[in-house]
Assembly symmetry: D2
Homo-oligomer: 326 residues x 4
C-alpha cells in the first residue's frame, strides 16, 4: 500500500427535520460547530476538527457517506489510483464544494457502501477542558462505523489485505466462516465492523465516551426529556470488544452507539479474538438480548454518483439473530 488511512473520520447523514435532530443530538452532548438551514455540523468534546457528524436536511433519511481520514493529500491520489486500477469508479469532490473539508475522494466500496476519504479538515477549538459545556453523554469523539453487508468475508478480505486494516475480534459462523468482524486502523478495537445481514446498510455510528457514568447520565437525561423510546438497547456490556454500550435511535431512525471500555490493539502479536456462535460468552456479556429492531433495522445508503438509494442483497451466510454482534 502506498496510502495511510488514519481513522474513522465523519458520517454524513440525511435527516428530515433539522430542529428535531438538533434537539436530540444536543441532548447527547454534541457540540454544534456550525449550521444553516440545510446543515448541522457536530463534533465531540475532544475533537479538534470541524465535525465528525454532518446532518443534511433532505426528503428521506439516508447515509450519504462514511468517511475515513488519511494522512496527506498524496494518500488520496494513491487511493484514487488504487481503486481505479481495481476497476472502481471514483468520484472527486474538489476543495470548496463541501464546507470545512479539503477535496474528498468517494467510492462505492467493495460492499457497496458510500465511502469517502479526506486528508484536510478545518481545525477548530478543542473543548476537552471546557467542562462547563459538558452535557448528556458528553460525547468525546467519533469512533467507528458498523455496517450490515451481504458478504462479510469479501469486506474482510478487502479491508485487511488491500487497505491495511487489522482484525481485533471476529465471529465464526457456519463452516467456520466469518460471520462478523471488527477491523481497525487506529489501535482501538475498531474503525469499522461488518456483520452478516441484508446490505449494504449502515447499522450504526459509534461515539466514544470518557467513562461509564457518562452513559448512565445520558440515559437519565434522555428519559427526562421524553427520549426513553429512543433508547433501543442497553446499557450493557458486550463480550465481544468489552464495550459498555448504549444504542439509541435518532428521530430519523439512524442508530448511534455510545460506548466506553475499549482496549489497545497496537501490537502485531495481538491475535484476533475468535468468538464462536455457540460460545455462551459471545452473547451480551450481561444484561438482556438485543430487541428485534436492533437486528432488522439499519440505515439505507446512497450511490456516490447518482445520490440514489442502493439496493440491498440478502446475506451470504444464514441470518441468525446476532445477540453477540455489536
Amino acid at each position: 500500500m502506498n496510502f495511510d488511512i488514519i481513522r474513522t473520520g465523519r458520517a454524513i447523514l440525511h435527516v428530515t427535520d433539522l430542529d428535531r435532530s438538533r434537539h436530540f443530538y444536543e441532548a447527547l452532548g454534541f457540540i454544534e460547530t456550525e449550521s444553516d438551514d440545510e446543515n448541522i455540523f457536530y463534533r465531540g468534546l475532544e475533537e479538534h476538527n470541524h465535525h465528525s457528524l454532518w446532518l443534511k436536511k433532505k426528503e428521506k433519511p439516508a447515509v450519504e457517506a462514511i468517511s475515513y481520514k488519511v494522512t496527506s493529500e498524496n494518500d488520496l491520489d494513491e487511493l484514487a489510483d488504487f481503486y481505479t486500477n481495481k476497476g472502481y469508479d471514483v468520484k472527486w469532490m474538489k476543495k470548496g464544494t463541501q464546507p470545512a473539508v479539503g477535496r474528498t475522494l468517494r467510492v462505492q466500496d467493495v460492499s457497496g457502501l458510500p465511502t469517502e476519504y479526506y486528508a484536510e479538515m478545518k481545525t477548530v477549538e478543542r473543548l476537552l477542558q471546557r467542562y462547563d459545556l459538558y452535557k448528556g453523554a458528553k460525547v468525546q469523539r467519533i469512533d467507528h462505523f458498523n455496517c450490515m453487508v451481504a458478504d462479510v468475508e469479501k469486506a474482510y478480505d478487502f479491508y485487511t489485505k488491500e487497505l491495511g486494516f487489522a482484525c481485533s475480534e471476529y465471529t465464526a459462523g457456519e463452516e467456520d466462516r466469518i460471520w462478523a468482524a471488527w477491523l481497525h486502523r487506529k489501535p482501538s478495537v475498531h474503525d469499522v465492523a461488518y456483520m452478516n445481514g441484508k446490505g449494504p446498510r449502515l447499522h450504526h455510528v459509534g461515539f466514544w465516551l470518557k467513562d461509564p457514568m457518562s452513559l448512565i447520565d445520558c440515559c437519565d437525561v434522555l428519559a427526562s426529556m421524553g427520549y426513553a423510546p429512543n433508547i433501543e438497547r442497553g446499557p450493557g456490556r458486550h463480550g465481544l470488544s468489552n464495550a459498555f454500550f448504549l444504542y439509541l435511535r435518532d428521530p430519523d431512525g439512524h442508530r448511534v452507539e455510545l460506548y466506553n471500555g475499549d482496549y489497545l490493539t497496537s501490537d502485531p502479536d495481538f491475535k484476533p479474538i475468535k468468538w464462536d456462535l455457540d460460545d455462551p460468552m459471545r452473547q451480551t456479556f450481561w444484561g438482556h438480548e438485543a430487541p428485534d429492531s436492533w437486528f432488522d433495522e439499519a440505515s439505507v445508503v446512497l450511490d456516490v454518483h447518482t445520490g440514489e438509494e442502493i439496493g440491498q442483497n440478502e446475506p451470504t451466510l444464514k441470518k441468525r439473530k446476532p445477540t453477540f454482534v455489536i
Copy 2:
C-alpha cells in the same frame, strides 16, 4: 401506637445448598459473619449488627420470616398486645433459641406474610472503612422488602393506620384504587412495598449500594463468574422511587434487588407521589420492560406456627404486567 418500629431488619430465607448460595452471595460482596452446616449469616459492609440475611439449609426454598427492628424490648410487648387484641395469634421465640438475636415476636401479618419483630441483635465490627474487603456490588445494608399480596389496600391501611408507616409513592389502578404502595419507617423511600398479585409471596429483598458504579461493577463480576443468567432485570432506573436498580435471582430463585438512588422522606409535608397506570412515566424510567419472570415469580412464605407453606390467593385488582412496579 405504643411501639416504635425502626426499620427493615433481616430476612430469613430457606435455601437448598449452602455452598452454592455462598458462592453467589459472596460474589455480591456480602460479609459472612458466621456459619455452620445449617446456616449462613450475612451482613452488609456498613452494618454493625450480626446479620441482615440469614440463610437456612432446608429441603425447599421458602421465606421463613421478614423482620423489623424495634427500639426496645418494651416495644415487643406492646406489639404482642396490639396483635393479640386484634385477634392475631402471635408466637414468641425466646432469647437463645435463635443465634445472635434477642427474643423475637412472630406473627402472620394482615397479608399472611410471616413477620417478625426484634429489638436486640448482637453487635459486631462494622466494616465500612475496610475497603480492602469490598467485592462485587459491595453491599452496604439491607433496605426493604417487596411483597406480592392479594389485597394491597388492606396491607396499606394496616401498615399506615395501625403500624405507623408512611407512604412515599403509590400506583393507582382501576377506580383509583391502590395497586401498589411504598411504605417506610426510616426516612427513605421504603421499608416495605406491596404490589397487587398472587400472594402472599416475597417478591424481593432490597439491599442498598454506595454508588451507581458498584452496580455496574457487580454485573461485570457476576458475568465473569458465570452468573449472567442470574441477572433478571436491569440495570435501569425506576421512575417510581428513582432507584438505579438491578434484580438478581439467587441459586434457589429468591430475588435480590441491588439499588442506589434513594431520597429523604423525613418531612410530614412530603406528600405521597401518585403514579397512574396510564402515565408513561410510571414505567421503567429508561431501559427495558421487566421480563415475565419478574412479574410472575416470587418466593413462597411459611406459616410462623406450623412452618408449612402458606397458600396463595388471587389478587383483588386486575392483574396487569406491572412494568411500573419496583
Copy 3:
C-alpha cells in the same frame, strides 16, 4: 421533650454581590426557586420545599441564621416555652414576614449561634427526575451545619440532653474531653457538628450529592469556569464519617461542603464512634492535610435580636490543627 426537630432546614447567609454569588452557586447545580434584587432562594434537586439556602444582599458577609425544621406549629410553641424557661430570649418572626416560610422562632443558642426553627415552608416542584437540569455537582439536598464553638462539651450536652440529638461520632482530646462531635436528628451522620475553635462561627454548610462522580464532575466544571481557587480542600475521604468530601469557598468566603458517602444511624444500639487525637485513622482517610485556611477561617454570625455581629471567644480546649475534623 415535647417537641420534635426533624432535620437541618436552611441556612440564611448574607452576601455582598448577588450576581457574583449566583454565578458560583449555579455552577454547583443549585436550583434557583425565586429571586429579586435583595434575595436569592436556592434548593437542591430532590428538595420539595421552597429553599434550603437563602442568600441576602448585605454590606458584609455573615450568617443570619441556621435553621431546623420541626414537625408542627405546636413544636414551635413547645420550643419557645422550653427556651424561655431556660432563660433564653426568643424572637418570633410571624408568618408573612419572610418569604415562603411560616412563622419562625429564633434564638441565640447555647453556643451563641443564631438558630431558627420552622414547621412550614412552601412546597414546590421536586426536580429529582429532571435530569436535563442537572449541572455541576448536581446538589441534591442540604445536609448539615458545622460550627466552631468555644465550648464543644456545652453544646454537646445541650443538644443531646435537651434537644434530643444523638451522637454518631466524636473526637476526644485532652483528658478525654470532647474536642468535636457529630450530632443528628435524621438518621444520618449529622445535622450539626461542633468543633473546638474560636466561636461561635459557622464553619460550613454541608450539601449531599448523589454519587462520588458528581463531586469529581464539579471540580472539573468549577475549574473550567475559573473557580479552581475556590476549591479549598479535597476531594478526599474523611475517616470520621466516611464522607467523600469537597470544600469550597463562595465569593464571600462562606464555606460549602459537598459530600457523598453517609451511613444509616437509626439504631439505638449504634454506639458513637470515638476518634482519638492520636489515632492515625482520625486524620483524612487518604489525601492531603487541610490547609490552614480551613482551620482558621469561618463565617461570623449575627445576633438574632440586633442583627449585629456576635463576638467570639477563645476555645476551652487547646486548639490544634484539626486535620481530622470534618
Copy 4:
C-alpha cells in the same frame, strides 16, 4: 527511520524486599504472571504480554531499564545500526538471558537513561473480562515513562527527529525554551515525558485505569491497608494532558502514576499544545499543588553496561517547582 517503535513496553525496577513490594502492587490490582525468589513479573488486566513491570530483588532501589516494544526483530537490528552509527555503545541481551522476552537491545540514551528495545515477549492470557479478579485500582496497562533530565531540548530533539516520536503537549520556560515535553508513538498523550531537573532519573511509570472511579476506589483500598502515606499527590486533574491522576510511592520510593482521561493524538494536523509557565491553566487544573517530594525525588538509573548508578547533572534551565508538570 528504518525502524518502528510501537509503544512503552516495560519497566525493570530494582527493589529491596519482594514481599513488601508484592503486598503493595497487589493492592493496586496488578496481576502477577510469574515470580521466584529474585523476581516478580506483573501485568495489567488488559495486557496479553507476559509483563509490563519487572521487579528484581537487589541491594538498592534503582531503575535497570525502561523499555519500548518495536514491531519486529529487524527493527532491533536497525536500531542497533542507528545507535552505533551515532557513536552509542549498544548492548545486546540474547534471547533466553531474560525470562519471557526475546533478545533485547540496550543503550544509554541521549539523556543517559538506560533504554531497552524488544520485539518479542511471551503471550499470556489476557484477563480483561475476568472482572472477578479486579482489585484496587484495577490497573489495565502500562502507559508511559516520565523522566527528569538535565537537558529537555536535547531529549526532545533526539526523540522527535531521530526516533519518530510526536509531541502532544509541552511547557515553554525561559526564552521560550522547552521546559517539559510529552512525546508519543502510540496515539495517546505520551509514551515518554521529559521534564527539566537533576537527571537522568526516572520520575514515574504511568499506568492506565479504565475509569475515574477505579482511582477513587484505589485511594480507599490503599488507605484501609495502611498505605495512606504512600499517596503522594492527588487525586486531581492535570491541565496538561487532562489526566485524572494519582501519584503513589512504592515501598522503595519508586513513583507510580495511576491515571485515566487521555485523548486521541492520531492526526498530523493535531498541533502540540503549548503551556506557558505563567499561564494559570498550566498548573494543576483543580486541587492542590504538588508536594516538594514530588518535585525533588525520583529514582536513580543504572548504566546498561556496568550496572552502576549513573551520576546526575544539574538542569540546563532554571529549576522551578513544576506544579504544572505531570
